[in-house]
Symmetry: none
Subunit: 210 residues, 4 copies
Amino acid sequence: MQPVDSGDEEAKRSFIEEARRGQIVRAAVETIAEEGYARASFVRIAARASVSPGLITYHFKTKERLLRQVLEYVDARLDRAMEGGPEPLTGFEDGLRRIVTGHVMHCSLHPREMAVRQEIGGADVPAPVREWIARGEEAGRAEMVGFLTEGQGHGEFRTFDPEVFTDALFAALNHAPARLRRRPPEEHEDYARELARLFAAAATGREPSD
Amino acid sequence: MQPVDSGDEEAKRSFIEEARRGQIVRAAVETIAEEGYARASFVRIAARASVSPGLITYHFKTKERLLRQVLEYVDARLDRAMEGGPEPLTGFEDGLRRIVTGHVMHCSLHPREMAVRQEIGGADVPAPVREWIARGEEAGRAEMVGFLTEGQGHGEFRTFDPEVFTDALFAALNHAPARLRRRPPEEHEDYARELARLFAAAATGREPSD
Amino acid sequence: MQPVDSGDEEAKRSFIEEARRGQIVRAAVETIAEEGYARASFVRIAARASVSPGLITYHFKTKERLLRQVLEYVDARLDRAMEGGPEPLTGFEDGLRRIVTGHVMHCSLHPREMAVRQEIGGADVPAPVREWIARGEEAGRAEMVGFLTEGQGHGEFRTFDPEVFTDALFAALNHAPARLRRRPPEEHEDYARELARLFAAAATGREPSD
Amino acid sequence: MQPVDSGDEEAKRSFIEEARRGQIVRAAVETIAEEGYARASFVRIAARASVSPGLITYHFKTKERLLRQVLEYVDARLDRAMEGGPEPLTGFEDGLRRIVTGHVMHCSLHPREMAVRQEIGGADVPAPVREWIARGEEAGRAEMVGFLTEGQGHGEFRTFDPEVFTDALFAALNHAPARLRRRPPEEHEDYARELARLFAAAATGREPSD
DNA sequence: CATGAATGAGCGTTCATTCAT
DNA sequence: AATGAATGAACGCTCATTCAT
């Protein structure tokens, strides 16, 4: 869902450097998730990682680069989770529902990571990061539009503007972490199924079967 | 859509004080909408209002209080616009569609004000403001849940979790300003109708008639 | 000797702002002269002015702008001092000697200010300041080259490359503050006269008369 | 021109240690010359030497000691170059002119090394280095004063204060690298000759013969 | 009522130096 | 002999807020 940042000179990193980078990225995720992006200063992230603030700059050079790593970390895990289960899709409606449930359940399992996406998305992030996020979102959006259009071509989906549908769907998915936070974990699966039924009904114009 | 901030000692305010407060609130709206919440410092808001920064504190005491007034101003205008047109509702589906189109068209007509709601919603706002926003949202949410439940009781809406539906609907409505910004104004009405059809289909489980 | 920074929007400043700006500029001069440019941080300058560091940014916006004011202050005083005494010049040699003695005596009377020019000239100053200094120096150099060429035209100076002469003269003048610092003040006038005789001899190829 | 740093415990150094030290010193010279003293951090010098920053401290203990070695390296090469050509001096004026041309031509042939002397001389160098430089300069100055006094004793030089003359001469020589940088290399020899004629005229009070 | 000068904490980043490996 | 990870203080600058006028 995010562009591969191939071409950057990350090159070979020592084992211990990789470990520290991971530790700092995870500390940044925690800090942003729990204190908010605006409070996620190097001092606070460093404190959470039990490390000096200078070390963050040492490993990431700039805050922008750290943010990029944070987003890559979060999105990589999301992408992996979204790759779909082993059972074959029975159709486009099934595909749409799996996208929704997959995303929501990932939010349930990794609430802090997913909260970070929202925090950063809405915050006063450096311009290059904002553009990088926008490019990633645009790619995801295009993929979804293509999927919906295909479903319409197969007659499985009703006639609607796939762009508008994608806007609504992504808005709902992005807000999922905030809403799940207010519900006990045992309800999350129901939440996922309900949201999937909602968008299935919206896409097909039929009462969802299940 | 926002709770009345009853209990605060706004009491008696001179005419000129009210004028100044309004001027500053409008300047704050413009500043947040055009430069973003993070850049909306007292100095910049004051400059836009052609006023000294100290005057803002004089009239509002803290930034938190100014933000509250900004949100009250914006939400009051939104609430007024959402009160519905003169023609009587033909049913719950019609009501739902009017909520969606009304909100979207308000975003189209007053993009800066609506952008402010989003900016502030996602930003590093003081905790009391965050809570105040949450209370306001909860009230709106409850109203919507009631409406949907009633529609289900009348058999006009299919069976679904009204809370989940409300989450998805409000998420889509709150993102509308950001999405409309990317489209020419003449398409906004289509956007509103499409989004309304989407949620109508989701609520009824039927192909929307119009 | 420095370009007029006309065109900047310094506009009308309140009396007390002008006073504070002057106080800060003088504190900066003292700090640079006594601790060196590298140690002239906002914190230290502010301490010397008995003021908070934030106030410097408040009045000057950036360090670059403060430096510019410092240089303007110093150069304005130097230029005024160099305008020459009341007695008419008796010739080009006399003119050259007055330039030298005028400059050296100014260094004697205002050693800290003149030390600042050297400190800043040799330091890791922001690029725009460096360019501004360079433009000012180039203007002074051109004036001197013109003066020397004219003196050669009148046959009062021997044949030499005026550019090279100017380089040597300005180098010597710029180092004067450092050298005077090592001598008791009562010798400064002798120093000035000796340096003037040196360059008079170099320019005329004759034993200086006085 | 620089005092022997006798008394330091450089003592016995292995061959490979000497090699490393030389490599680092040369990297420091390049870094200071091309990026300026202020940008010549251990990290950058180490990168240029393809070495780790820790190694610099390992070999030199402190930045101050590295700077000392840098200056010794540069000054040693300058001293060797200044030792004068094979032809015997024809007199004091000849000696003076050879000093000037020798120095200027060395600046032309080794501009980076000579730029380093200036960079360090004017920068925020640690106090002990500044003192060490001062001692070195004082030694050179004393030598020059002696030479000039002797020339006056032989009647070849006019009556002037040798200290003042030395100040002016050294100032001009130290600024030579900066001025040469602005001229094409083929003019450097002319520059050297012109500067030599200037100081010859200043010293003798006569039109230079050549 | 209104000004705008003033504060001081906090920000991201750089740096010489240390030290475990 | 050499690495490079790690530290912590200092930097210029921004900000909400205070207060003398």
